[in-house]
Protein backbone atom coordinates (compact mmCIF):
# COMPACT_ATOMS: atom_id res chain seq x y z
CA UNK A 1 0.00 0.00 0.00
CA UNK A 2 1.26 3.47 -0.85
CA UNK A 3 1.97 5.52 2.26
CA UNK A 4 0.17 8.49 0.74
CA UNK A 5 -2.96 6.39 0.53
CA UNK A 6 -3.08 5.66 4.23
CA UNK A 7 -5.59 7.63 6.26
CA UNK A 8 -5.06 5.94 9.62
CA UNK A 9 -1.99 4.07 10.76
CA UNK A 10 -2.17 2.32 14.12
CA UNK A 11 1.11 0.67 15.08
CA UNK A 12 1.49 -1.50 18.17
CA UNK A 13 -1.07 0.49 20.11
CA UNK A 14 -1.21 -0.35 23.80
CA UNK A 15 -3.55 1.30 26.26
CA UNK A 16 -3.63 0.42 29.93
CA UNK A 17 -5.93 2.22 32.34
CA UNK A 18 -3.94 2.74 35.52
CA UNK A 19 -5.30 1.91 38.94
CA UNK A 20 -4.98 -0.59 41.72
CA UNK A 21 -5.87 -3.22 39.19
CA UNK A 22 -4.69 -1.83 35.85
CA UNK A 23 -6.94 -2.67 32.93
CA UNK A 24 -5.21 -3.55 29.69
CA UNK A 25 -7.86 -2.34 27.30
CA UNK A 26 -5.79 -2.52 24.10
CA UNK A 27 -2.86 -4.88 23.74
CA UNK A 28 -0.52 -4.18 20.88
CA UNK A 29 -2.79 -3.76 17.89
CA UNK A 30 -1.70 -2.63 14.44
CA UNK A 31 -3.73 -1.88 11.34
CA UNK A 32 -4.08 0.65 8.58
CA UNK A 33 -7.09 2.31 7.01
CA UNK A 34 -6.76 3.41 3.44
CA UNK A 35 -8.02 6.73 2.18
CA UNK A 36 -11.49 6.53 0.72
CA UNK A 37 -12.45 3.24 2.33
CA UNK A 38 -15.13 2.46 4.84
CA UNK A 39 -13.44 0.49 7.55
CA UNK A 40 -15.47 -1.40 10.12
CA UNK A 41 -14.16 -1.91 13.62
CA UNK A 42 -15.95 -4.77 15.31
CA UNK A 43 -15.81 -6.57 18.57
CA UNK A 44 -17.85 -7.50 21.61
CA UNK A 45 -18.52 -5.05 24.41
CA UNK A 46 -15.33 -4.13 26.27
CA UNK A 47 -13.09 -5.38 23.48
CA UNK A 48 -11.26 -2.04 23.16
CA UNK A 49 -13.02 -0.42 20.19
CA UNK A 50 -13.93 2.86 21.86
CA UNK A 51 -10.56 3.05 23.61
CA UNK A 52 -8.80 2.76 20.24
CA UNK A 53 -11.04 5.43 18.72
CA UNK A 54 -10.48 7.80 21.65
CA UNK A 55 -6.71 7.27 21.46
CA UNK A 56 -6.92 8.13 17.78
CA UNK A 57 -8.55 11.45 18.66
CA UNK A 58 -6.07 12.22 21.45
CA UNK A 59 -8.80 12.10 24.07
CA UNK A 60 -6.96 9.19 25.65
CA UNK A 61 -3.19 8.96 25.72
CA UNK A 62 -1.74 5.64 24.56
CA UNK A 63 0.49 3.67 26.91
CA UNK A 64 2.56 2.50 23.97
CA UNK A 65 2.70 2.40 20.20
CA UNK A 66 1.92 5.11 17.72
CA UNK A 67 -1.07 6.49 15.89
CA UNK A 68 -1.04 8.68 12.84
CA UNK A 69 -3.77 10.18 10.72
CA UNK A 70 -2.99 11.42 7.20
CA UNK A 71 0.67 10.91 8.08
CA UNK A 72 0.42 13.26 11.06
CA UNK A 73 1.10 12.23 14.63
CA UNK A 74 -2.19 11.82 16.48
CA UNK A 75 -0.94 13.67 19.55
CA UNK A 76 1.63 16.17 18.32
CA UNK A 77 -0.43 17.25 15.31
CA UNK A 78 -3.82 16.80 16.93
CA UNK A 79 -5.18 20.20 15.91
CA UNK A 80 -4.21 19.76 12.26
CA UNK A 81 -5.83 16.33 12.26
CA UNK A 82 -8.97 17.42 14.02
CA UNK A 83 -9.64 20.13 11.45
CA UNK A 84 -10.03 17.28 8.92
CA UNK A 85 -12.00 14.86 11.07
CA UNK A 86 -15.66 14.45 11.93
CA UNK A 87 -16.36 12.47 15.10
CA UNK A 88 -19.43 10.76 16.39
CA UNK A 89 -18.93 9.51 19.95
CA UNK A 90 -20.74 6.46 21.19
CA UNK A 91 -21.77 7.84 24.55
CA UNK A 92 -22.73 11.47 24.80
CA UNK A 93 -25.52 13.35 26.54
CA UNK A 94 -26.51 16.29 24.42
CA UNK A 95 -27.06 19.69 26.05
CA UNK A 96 -30.84 19.59 26.37
CA UNK A 97 -31.34 23.33 26.68
CA UNK A 98 -30.01 23.94 23.17
CA UNK A 99 -32.03 23.54 20.01
CA UNK A 100 -30.61 21.29 17.31
CA UNK A 101 -29.80 24.41 15.32
CA UNK A 102 -27.88 26.00 18.19
CA UNK A 103 -26.07 22.75 18.92
CA UNK A 104 -24.93 22.32 15.32
CA UNK A 105 -23.94 25.99 15.09
CA UNK A 106 -21.84 25.63 18.26
CA UNK A 107 -19.93 22.64 16.95
CA UNK A 108 -19.39 24.02 13.48
CA UNK A 109 -17.97 27.17 15.09
CA UNK A 110 -15.66 24.99 17.18
CA UNK A 111 -14.58 23.26 14.00
CA UNK A 112 -13.90 26.65 12.47
CA UNK A 113 -15.72 25.51 9.35
CA UNK A 114 -19.03 26.28 7.68
CA UNK A 115 -21.50 23.38 7.84
CA UNK A 116 -21.59 22.99 4.08
CA UNK A 117 -23.13 19.51 4.10
CA UNK A 118 -25.91 20.47 6.48
CA UNK A 119 -28.56 21.05 3.78
CA UNK A 120 -27.91 17.56 2.39
CA UNK A 121 -27.99 16.03 5.84
CA UNK A 122 -31.25 17.77 6.69
CA UNK A 123 -32.83 16.20 3.63
CA UNK A 124 -31.74 12.73 4.77
CA UNK A 125 -32.31 13.07 8.47
CA UNK A 126 -35.40 15.05 9.20
CA UNK A 127 -35.19 16.54 12.65
CA UNK A 128 -36.95 19.61 14.01
CA UNK A 129 -34.09 22.10 14.06
CA UNK A 130 -35.81 24.62 16.31
CA UNK A 131 -36.82 22.19 19.03
CA UNK A 132 -34.79 21.78 22.19
CA UNK A 133 -32.65 18.65 22.27
CA UNK A 134 -34.16 17.54 25.56
CA UNK A 135 -37.42 16.87 23.75
CA UNK A 136 -35.73 14.63 21.17
CA UNK A 137 -36.14 10.86 21.03
CA UNK A 138 -33.03 8.67 21.10
CA UNK A 139 -33.15 8.26 17.33
CA UNK A 140 -33.47 12.00 16.77
CA UNK A 141 -30.54 12.67 19.07
CA UNK A 142 -28.48 10.14 17.14
CA UNK A 143 -29.40 11.84 13.86
CA UNK A 144 -28.27 15.15 15.35
CA UNK A 145 -24.94 13.59 16.27
CA UNK A 146 -24.58 12.14 12.78
CA UNK A 147 -25.24 15.59 11.34
CA UNK A 148 -22.60 17.23 13.53
CA UNK A 149 -20.06 14.60 12.52
CA UNK A 150 -20.55 15.15 8.79
CA UNK A 151 -21.77 18.73 8.45
CA UNK A 152 -18.35 20.31 7.87
CA UNK A 153 -17.47 17.80 5.15
CA UNK A 154 -14.58 16.04 6.92
CA UNK A 155 -11.96 14.03 5.07
CA UNK A 156 -12.19 11.35 7.73
CA UNK A 157 -15.27 10.39 9.71
CA UNK A 158 -14.63 8.50 12.94
CA UNK A 159 -17.89 6.98 14.11
CA UNK A 160 -18.53 5.02 17.27
CA UNK A 161 -21.66 2.91 16.74
CA UNK A 162 -23.28 5.47 14.43
CA UNK A 163 -26.65 3.83 13.93
CA UNK A 164 -27.32 3.02 17.57
CA UNK A 165 -30.91 4.00 18.26
CA UNK A 166 -31.87 4.61 14.63
CA UNK A 167 -34.94 2.92 13.17
CA UNK A 168 -34.52 0.81 9.99
CA UNK A 169 -35.37 3.80 7.78
CA UNK A 170 -32.79 5.92 9.56
CA UNK A 171 -30.24 3.13 9.28
CA UNK A 172 -30.88 2.82 5.59
CA UNK A 173 -30.59 6.58 5.06
CA UNK A 174 -27.34 6.58 7.00
CA UNK A 175 -25.85 3.67 5.06
CA UNK A 176 -26.78 5.29 1.77
CA UNK A 177 -25.24 8.60 2.86
CA UNK A 178 -22.10 6.81 4.00
CA UNK A 179 -21.64 5.05 0.66
CA UNK A 180 -22.14 8.32 -1.21
CA UNK A 181 -19.57 10.10 0.91
CA UNK A 182 -17.08 7.27 0.47
CA UNK A 183 -17.70 7.62 -3.27
CA UNK A 184 -16.66 11.28 -2.95
CA UNK A 185 -13.42 10.21 -1.29
CA UNK A 186 -14.31 10.48 2.39
CA UNK A 187 -12.64 7.91 4.62
CA UNK A 188 -14.84 6.32 7.27
CA UNK A 189 -13.67 4.48 10.35
CA UNK A 190 -16.60 3.10 12.26
CA UNK A 191 -17.30 0.72 15.07
CA UNK A 192 -20.57 -1.14 14.94
CA UNK A 193 -22.51 -4.01 16.40
CA UNK A 194 -24.89 -4.19 13.47
CA UNK A 195 -23.35 -6.85 11.29
CA UNK A 196 -25.70 -6.36 8.34
CA UNK A 197 -24.72 -2.69 8.26
CA UNK A 198 -21.04 -3.58 8.27
CA UNK A 199 -21.61 -6.16 5.57
CA UNK A 200 -23.38 -3.68 3.32
CA UNK A 201 -21.20 -0.62 3.82
CA UNK A 202 -17.68 -1.60 4.81
CA UNK A 203 -14.87 -2.47 2.46
CA UNK A 204 -12.74 -3.98 5.19
CA UNK A 205 -13.22 -4.84 8.82
CA UNK A 206 -11.01 -5.37 11.82
CA UNK A 207 -12.25 -7.57 14.62
CA UNK A 208 -10.92 -6.83 18.08
CA UNK A 209 -11.38 -9.15 21.01
CA UNK A 210 -10.02 -8.67 24.53
CA UNK A 211 -7.82 -5.84 23.31
CA UNK A 212 -6.20 -7.88 20.55
CA UNK A 213 -6.85 -7.91 16.85
CA UNK A 214 -8.49 -11.15 15.82
CA UNK A 215 -8.62 -10.31 12.12
CA UNK A 216 -8.34 -7.58 9.52
CA UNK A 217 -10.00 -8.69 6.32
CA UNK A 218 -12.05 -7.54 3.39
CA UNK A 219 -15.73 -8.35 3.43
CA UNK A 220 -15.18 -10.60 0.41
CA UNK A 221 -12.54 -12.59 2.28
CA UNK A 222 -14.89 -12.95 5.20
CA UNK A 223 -17.61 -14.18 2.88
CA UNK A 224 -15.26 -16.78 1.50
CA UNK A 225 -14.35 -17.73 5.02
CA UNK A 226 -18.01 -18.08 5.94
CA UNK A 227 -18.43 -20.64 3.13
CA UNK A 228 -21.68 -21.95 1.71
CA UNK A 229 -24.61 -24.03 2.86
CA UNK A 230 -25.94 -26.77 0.55
CA UNK A 231 -29.53 -27.86 1.16
CA UNK A 232 -30.23 -31.19 -0.46
CA UNK A 233 -33.03 -33.77 -0.51
CA UNK A 234 -32.48 -37.29 -1.81
CA UNK A 235 -34.94 -39.80 -3.19
CA UNK A 236 -32.76 -42.71 -2.09
CA UNK A 237 -31.38 -43.32 1.41
CA UNK A 238 -28.08 -41.56 2.29
CA UNK A 239 -26.14 -41.86 5.55
CA UNK A 240 -24.69 -38.93 7.49
CA UNK A 241 -21.28 -40.57 7.54
CA UNK A 242 -21.27 -40.65 3.75
CA UNK A 243 -22.02 -36.95 3.55
CA UNK A 244 -19.43 -36.08 6.16
CA UNK A 245 -16.82 -37.91 4.16
CA UNK A 246 -17.20 -35.54 1.19
CA UNK A 247 -14.19 -33.21 0.80
CA UNK A 248 -14.93 -29.67 2.02
CA UNK A 249 -17.96 -30.55 4.11
CA UNK A 250 -17.51 -29.11 7.58
CA UNK A 251 -20.83 -29.91 9.14
CA UNK A 252 -23.92 -31.97 8.36
CA UNK A 253 -27.40 -31.52 9.81
CA UNK A 254 -30.54 -33.54 9.13
CA UNK A 255 -33.67 -31.39 9.14
CA UNK A 256 -37.12 -32.44 10.31
CA UNK A 257 -38.45 -32.44 6.72
CA UNK A 258 -35.82 -34.97 5.73
CA UNK A 259 -33.52 -32.53 3.92
CA UNK A 260 -29.79 -32.29 4.69
CA UNK A 261 -27.87 -29.07 5.36
CA UNK A 262 -24.21 -29.35 4.46
CA UNK A 263 -21.91 -26.54 5.54
CA UNK A 264 -19.02 -26.14 3.14
CA UNK A 265 -15.65 -24.51 3.18
CA UNK A 266 -13.86 -24.23 -0.13
CA UNK A 267 -14.94 -25.42 -3.56
CA UNK A 268 -18.40 -26.82 -4.13
CA UNK A 269 -17.26 -29.02 -7.03
CA UNK A 270 -16.41 -32.20 -5.06
CA UNK A 271 -19.73 -31.91 -3.25
CA UNK A 272 -21.72 -31.73 -6.47
CA UNK A 273 -19.85 -34.74 -7.84
CA UNK A 274 -20.44 -36.75 -4.69
CA UNK A 275 -24.12 -35.86 -4.51
CA UNK A 276 -24.57 -36.84 -8.16
CA UNK A 277 -24.02 -40.46 -7.21
CA UNK A 278 -27.52 -40.35 -5.68
CA UNK A 279 -30.94 -39.34 -6.95
CA UNK A 280 -31.28 -35.71 -5.89
CA UNK A 281 -34.85 -34.41 -5.43
CA UNK A 282 -33.94 -30.82 -4.46
CA UNK A 283 -30.71 -28.84 -4.29
CA UNK A 284 -30.14 -25.29 -3.06
CA UNK A 285 -26.88 -23.46 -2.44
CA UNK A 286 -26.80 -20.48 -0.09
CA UNK A 287 -24.07 -18.29 1.27
CA UNK A 288 -23.55 -18.89 4.97
CA UNK A 289 -24.48 -15.85 7.05
CA UNK A 290 -21.51 -13.61 7.74
CA UNK A 291 -22.79 -13.31 11.26
CA UNK A 292 -21.42 -16.73 12.08
CA UNK A 293 -17.91 -15.66 11.14
CA UNK A 294 -18.16 -12.58 13.29
CA UNK A 295 -19.56 -14.54 16.19
CA UNK A 296 -16.71 -16.98 15.88
CA UNK A 297 -14.24 -14.10 16.16
CA UNK A 298 -16.23 -12.61 19.01
CA UNK A 299 -16.34 -15.75 21.11
CA UNK A 300 -13.55 -16.03 23.62
CA UNK A 301 -13.01 -19.67 22.77
CA UNK A 302 -12.29 -19.05 19.11
CA UNK A 303 -9.60 -21.41 17.95
CA UNK A 304 -7.80 -18.96 15.73
CA UNK A 305 -4.99 -17.00 17.34
CA UNK A 306 -4.98 -13.23 17.44
CA UNK A 307 -3.17 -11.89 14.41
CA UNK A 308 -1.57 -8.67 13.34
CA UNK A 309 -2.69 -6.57 10.43
CA UNK A 310 -3.00 -8.35 7.10
CA UNK A 311 -3.57 -5.81 4.38
CA UNK A 312 -4.48 -7.14 0.96
CA UNK A 313 -2.05 -6.11 -1.73
Amino acid sequence: MDGAGVAIDVAHLVKTYPGKQPVRAVRDISFQVERGEIFGFLGPNGAGKTTTIRCLLDVLRPTGGSLSVFGLDARRDALAIHSRVGYLPGDVRLPGELTAKQFLARYSRLAGLEPVLLPQLRERFEIPMDRKLKSFSKGMRQMTLIMQAFMCDPELAVLDEPTSGLDPLGQRAFNQFLLEQAGRGMTVFMSSHILSEVEHTCHRVAVIREGRLAAVETIEALRERSGQVVIVEFEDPVTEAELRAIAGVQDVERQANGSWHLKLAGSIDPVIKALARHTVARLEVEEAPLEEVFLKFYSAGASEPAVEEVVPA
Binding site: L110, A111, G112
Partner: protein, 285 residues
Amino acid sequence: MSAEAAAPALRVARPRARRFTVLAATLYESRTLLGAACGYIVIIGLLVGLLLPAFKTLNLQIYLTGTLGSLLGGGATLGPNTPLFAAYLALELYTSFFMLLFGGVLAYAAGASISRNIEDGTLDLTLARPVGRVRLYLEKWAAMLVGGALILVVSLLTAYAGTLFFPNATLHWTWFLLGNLDVAAMLFAVVGMGMLVSAVTSAGRAGGGAAVMVVVFWYFCQTFGSAGDRLAFLQYLGPYYYAPSSHVITTEQWTDPWKLLVPVAAGLVFGLAGLVYFRRRDITA
Protein backbone atom coordinates in the same frame (compact mmCIF):
# COMPACT_ATOMS: atom_id res chain seq x y z
CA MET B 1 -10.64 1.32 -3.60
CA SER B 2 -7.59 3.40 -4.24
CA ALA B 3 -5.67 6.36 -2.99
CA GLU B 4 -6.88 8.36 -5.98
CA ALA B 5 -10.43 8.08 -4.72
CA ALA B 6 -9.56 10.25 -1.77
CA ALA B 7 -8.70 13.58 -3.27
CA PRO B 8 -9.00 16.16 -0.51
CA ALA B 9 -9.84 18.68 -3.21
CA LEU B 10 -13.33 17.24 -3.12
CA ARG B 11 -13.88 18.91 0.20
CA VAL B 12 -15.99 21.98 0.00
CA ALA B 13 -15.66 23.05 3.64
CA ARG B 14 -15.19 26.76 4.15
CA PRO B 15 -13.57 28.38 7.19
CA ARG B 16 -15.69 30.26 9.69
CA ALA B 17 -14.83 32.36 12.72
CA ARG B 18 -14.31 30.26 15.81
CA ARG B 19 -14.70 33.13 18.32
CA PHE B 20 -14.78 32.27 22.01
CA THR B 21 -17.28 29.46 21.68
CA VAL B 22 -16.05 27.48 24.68
CA LEU B 23 -16.13 30.58 26.87
CA ALA B 24 -19.67 31.43 25.78
CA ALA B 25 -20.86 27.84 26.21
CA THR B 26 -19.34 27.65 29.70
CA LEU B 27 -21.06 30.85 30.79
CA TYR B 28 -24.31 29.56 29.33
CA GLU B 29 -23.97 26.33 31.31
CA SER B 30 -23.44 28.33 34.52
CA ARG B 31 -26.17 30.87 33.87
CA THR B 32 -28.58 29.61 36.54
CA LEU B 33 -26.00 29.69 39.32
CA LEU B 34 -24.58 33.05 38.34
CA GLY B 35 -28.05 34.49 37.84
CA ALA B 36 -29.13 33.33 41.29
CA ALA B 37 -26.00 34.82 42.87
CA CYS B 38 -26.49 38.15 41.14
CA GLY B 39 -30.16 38.21 42.10
CA TYR B 40 -29.29 37.55 45.72
CA ILE B 41 -26.72 40.36 45.73
CA VAL B 42 -29.32 42.78 44.39
CA ILE B 43 -31.79 41.71 47.08
CA ILE B 44 -29.25 42.11 49.90
CA GLY B 45 -27.99 45.45 48.60
CA LEU B 46 -31.44 46.91 48.19
CA LEU B 47 -32.60 45.56 51.56
CA VAL B 48 -29.69 47.30 53.27
CA GLY B 49 -30.71 50.58 51.59
CA LEU B 50 -34.36 50.03 52.44
CA LEU B 51 -33.65 49.26 56.10
CA LEU B 52 -31.12 52.06 56.53
CA PRO B 53 -33.50 54.24 58.61
CA ALA B 54 -34.01 51.33 61.02
CA PHE B 55 -30.26 50.59 61.14
CA LYS B 56 -29.61 54.12 62.34
CA THR B 57 -31.10 53.24 65.71
CA LEU B 58 -28.72 50.31 66.17
CA ASN B 59 -25.23 50.44 67.61
CA LEU B 60 -23.21 49.27 64.65
CA GLN B 61 -19.90 49.29 66.52
CA ILE B 62 -21.17 46.63 68.96
CA TYR B 63 -22.39 44.54 66.04
CA LEU B 64 -19.05 44.87 64.26
CA THR B 65 -16.91 43.93 67.22
CA GLY B 66 -19.34 41.37 68.62
CA THR B 67 -19.01 37.63 68.15
CA LEU B 68 -21.17 37.48 65.04
CA GLY B 69 -19.38 40.39 63.43
CA SER B 70 -16.03 38.81 64.18
CA LEU B 71 -17.10 35.45 62.85
CA LEU B 72 -18.32 36.98 59.63
CA GLY B 73 -14.96 38.64 59.19
CA GLY B 74 -16.37 42.09 59.77
CA GLY B 75 -14.92 42.55 63.22
CA ALA B 76 -13.21 45.92 62.99
CA THR B 77 -13.40 49.39 64.43
CA LEU B 78 -15.64 51.65 62.44
CA GLY B 79 -13.86 54.54 60.77
CA PRO B 80 -14.77 58.02 62.04
CA ASN B 81 -16.32 59.08 58.75
CA THR B 82 -17.55 55.75 57.40
CA PRO B 83 -21.04 56.18 55.95
CA LEU B 84 -23.63 53.95 57.57
CA PHE B 85 -24.80 52.56 54.23
CA ALA B 86 -21.23 51.53 53.34
CA ALA B 87 -20.67 49.99 56.76
CA TYR B 88 -23.82 47.87 56.68
CA LEU B 89 -23.24 46.93 53.06
CA ALA B 90 -19.75 45.80 54.03
CA LEU B 91 -21.11 43.78 56.90
CA GLU B 92 -23.98 42.14 55.04
CA LEU B 93 -22.26 41.63 51.71
CA TYR B 94 -18.48 41.95 51.81
CA THR B 95 -17.48 39.84 54.81
CA SER B 96 -15.99 36.38 54.49
CA PHE B 97 -19.61 35.32 54.03
CA PHE B 98 -19.29 36.78 50.55
CA MET B 99 -16.58 34.24 49.89
CA LEU B 100 -18.75 31.46 51.26
CA LEU B 101 -21.89 32.35 49.36
CA PHE B 102 -20.85 33.97 46.12
CA GLY B 103 -17.41 32.42 46.13
CA GLY B 104 -19.20 29.12 46.70
CA VAL B 105 -21.39 29.69 43.66
CA LEU B 106 -18.35 30.53 41.58
CA ALA B 107 -16.41 27.58 43.00
CA TYR B 108 -19.23 25.20 42.06
CA ALA B 109 -19.43 26.64 38.55
CA ALA B 110 -15.65 26.45 38.09
CA GLY B 111 -15.37 23.02 39.70
CA ALA B 112 -18.00 21.64 37.35
CA SER B 113 -16.88 23.52 34.25
CA ILE B 114 -14.69 20.78 32.78
CA SER B 115 -15.80 17.76 34.78
CA ARG B 116 -19.44 18.25 33.72
CA ASN B 117 -18.40 18.04 30.07
CA ILE B 118 -16.30 14.96 30.76
CA GLU B 119 -19.28 13.32 32.45
CA ASP B 120 -21.77 14.06 29.67
CA GLY B 121 -19.31 13.25 26.90
CA THR B 122 -19.43 16.66 25.22
CA LEU B 123 -15.76 17.25 26.02
CA ASP B 124 -14.95 14.45 23.58
CA LEU B 125 -16.94 16.28 20.93
CA THR B 126 -15.13 19.54 21.62
CA LEU B 127 -11.65 18.03 21.77
CA ALA B 128 -12.27 16.19 18.51
CA ARG B 129 -12.53 19.65 16.93
CA PRO B 130 -9.38 21.71 16.32
CA VAL B 131 -9.61 23.09 19.85
CA GLY B 132 -6.51 22.32 21.90
CA ARG B 133 -6.70 21.42 25.55
CA VAL B 134 -4.83 24.58 26.53
CA ARG B 135 -7.25 26.79 24.65
CA LEU B 136 -10.24 24.92 26.02
CA TYR B 137 -8.96 25.21 29.59
CA LEU B 138 -8.06 28.88 29.26
CA GLU B 139 -11.44 29.73 27.76
CA LYS B 140 -13.20 27.94 30.60
CA TRP B 141 -10.99 29.70 33.13
CA ALA B 142 -11.72 33.03 31.46
CA ALA B 143 -15.44 32.24 31.50
CA MET B 144 -15.33 31.75 35.25
CA LEU B 145 -13.40 34.99 35.69
CA VAL B 146 -16.06 36.71 33.62
CA GLY B 147 -18.63 35.12 35.97
CA GLY B 148 -16.72 36.53 38.96
CA ALA B 149 -16.52 39.94 37.30
CA LEU B 150 -20.25 39.78 36.69
CA ILE B 151 -20.88 39.19 40.40
CA LEU B 152 -18.65 42.14 41.27
CA VAL B 153 -20.20 44.45 38.70
CA VAL B 154 -23.69 43.55 39.93
CA SER B 155 -22.69 44.27 43.53
CA LEU B 156 -21.16 47.61 42.50
CA LEU B 157 -24.23 48.55 40.47
CA THR B 158 -26.48 47.54 43.33
CA ALA B 159 -24.51 49.76 45.70
CA TYR B 160 -24.68 52.57 43.17
CA ALA B 161 -28.42 52.09 42.77
CA GLY B 162 -28.73 52.22 46.57
CA THR B 163 -27.07 55.63 46.65
CA LEU B 164 -29.50 56.84 44.01
CA PHE B 165 -32.73 55.49 45.42
CA PHE B 166 -32.39 55.63 49.20
CA PRO B 167 -32.03 58.82 51.21
CA ASN B 168 -28.80 59.15 53.21
CA ALA B 169 -27.33 56.12 51.46
CA THR B 170 -23.83 57.34 50.70
CA LEU B 171 -20.55 55.63 49.87
CA HIS B 172 -16.95 56.73 49.90
CA TRP B 173 -16.20 55.28 46.53
CA THR B 174 -12.42 55.03 46.90
CA TRP B 175 -12.68 52.76 49.92
CA PHE B 176 -15.62 50.92 48.47
CA LEU B 177 -13.75 50.20 45.23
CA LEU B 178 -10.68 49.11 47.17
CA GLY B 179 -12.91 46.74 49.13
CA ASN B 180 -14.19 45.37 45.85
CA LEU B 181 -10.62 44.94 44.67
CA ASP B 182 -10.10 42.70 47.69
CA VAL B 183 -13.20 40.73 46.74
CA ALA B 184 -11.90 40.40 43.20
CA ALA B 185 -8.63 38.93 44.48
CA MET B 186 -10.56 36.53 46.71
CA LEU B 187 -12.75 35.40 43.81
CA PHE B 188 -9.66 34.99 41.63
CA ALA B 189 -8.29 32.51 44.17
CA VAL B 190 -11.65 30.72 44.29
CA VAL B 191 -11.82 30.41 40.50
CA GLY B 192 -8.27 29.11 40.23
CA MET B 193 -8.96 26.52 42.91
CA GLY B 194 -12.22 25.54 41.17
CA MET B 195 -10.43 25.06 37.86
CA LEU B 196 -7.86 22.80 39.50
CA VAL B 197 -10.60 20.70 41.07
CA SER B 198 -12.44 20.51 37.75
CA ALA B 199 -9.29 19.41 35.93
CA VAL B 200 -8.76 16.47 38.24
CA THR B 201 -12.37 15.27 38.53
CA SER B 202 -14.62 13.59 35.99
CA ALA B 203 -18.15 14.32 37.16
CA GLY B 204 -19.85 17.71 37.33
CA ARG B 205 -21.43 17.43 40.76
CA ALA B 206 -18.32 15.84 42.25
CA GLY B 207 -16.11 18.62 40.88
CA GLY B 208 -18.48 21.40 41.88
CA GLY B 209 -19.13 19.87 45.29
CA ALA B 210 -15.44 19.36 46.04
CA ALA B 211 -14.65 22.96 45.11
CA VAL B 212 -17.46 24.22 47.37
CA MET B 213 -16.08 22.10 50.21
CA VAL B 214 -12.73 23.84 49.83
CA VAL B 215 -14.48 27.23 50.09
CA VAL B 216 -16.38 26.02 53.16
CA PHE B 217 -13.05 24.92 54.63
CA TRP B 218 -11.60 28.38 53.95
CA TYR B 219 -14.63 29.96 55.58
CA PHE B 220 -14.24 27.79 58.69
CA CYS B 221 -10.54 28.65 58.79
CA GLN B 222 -11.50 32.33 58.77
CA THR B 223 -14.26 32.09 61.38
CA PHE B 224 -12.42 29.77 63.79
CA GLY B 225 -9.17 31.62 63.20
CA SER B 226 -10.77 34.91 64.24
CA ALA B 227 -12.35 33.34 67.33
CA GLY B 228 -9.15 33.23 69.36
CA ASP B 229 -5.40 33.70 69.30
CA ARG B 230 -4.59 30.00 69.58
CA LEU B 231 -6.41 29.31 66.32
CA ALA B 232 -5.32 32.51 64.59
CA PHE B 233 -3.03 30.57 62.28
CA LEU B 234 -6.12 29.11 60.59
CA GLN B 235 -6.90 32.49 59.05
CA TYR B 236 -3.72 32.32 57.01
CA LEU B 237 -5.04 29.29 55.14
CA GLY B 238 -7.93 31.10 53.49
CA PRO B 239 -7.90 34.05 51.06
CA TYR B 240 -10.08 36.39 53.15
CA TYR B 241 -7.23 37.12 55.58
CA TYR B 242 -5.21 38.53 52.69
CA ALA B 243 -8.14 40.40 51.14
CA PRO B 244 -10.32 41.64 54.05
CA SER B 245 -12.79 43.53 51.92
CA SER B 246 -15.26 44.47 54.66
CA HIS B 247 -12.45 45.83 56.86
CA VAL B 248 -11.30 48.15 54.11
CA ILE B 249 -14.81 49.55 53.69
CA THR B 250 -15.67 49.87 57.38
CA THR B 251 -12.32 51.14 58.69
CA GLU B 252 -11.46 53.11 55.57
CA GLN B 253 -7.90 51.86 55.82
CA TRP B 254 -5.97 49.71 53.38
CA THR B 255 -3.03 48.27 55.24
CA ASP B 256 -0.51 45.92 53.68
CA PRO B 257 -1.81 46.11 50.11
CA TRP B 258 0.86 43.60 49.08
CA LYS B 259 -1.21 40.95 50.85
CA LEU B 260 -3.59 41.14 47.92
CA LEU B 261 -0.97 39.38 45.84
CA VAL B 262 -1.30 36.23 47.95
CA PRO B 263 -4.80 35.21 46.76
CA VAL B 264 -3.92 36.34 43.24
CA ALA B 265 -0.78 34.21 43.27
CA ALA B 266 -2.70 31.32 44.81
CA GLY B 267 -5.37 31.57 42.09
CA LEU B 268 -2.67 31.55 39.42
CA VAL B 269 -0.85 28.59 40.96
CA PHE B 270 -4.07 26.60 41.37
CA GLY B 271 -5.24 27.42 37.86
CA LEU B 272 -1.92 26.64 36.20
CA ALA B 273 -1.58 23.40 38.14
CA GLY B 274 -5.01 22.45 36.80
CA LEU B 275 -3.88 23.30 33.27
CA VAL B 276 -0.75 21.16 33.55
CA TYR B 277 -2.80 18.23 34.83
CA PHE B 278 -5.55 18.67 32.26
CA ARG B 279 -3.05 18.66 29.40
CA ARG B 280 -1.71 15.30 30.48
CA ARG B 281 -4.74 13.44 31.68
CA ASP B 282 -6.92 10.86 29.98
CA ILE B 283 -10.45 12.06 29.46
CA THR B 284 -12.34 9.27 31.15
CA ALA B 285 -15.73 9.64 32.81
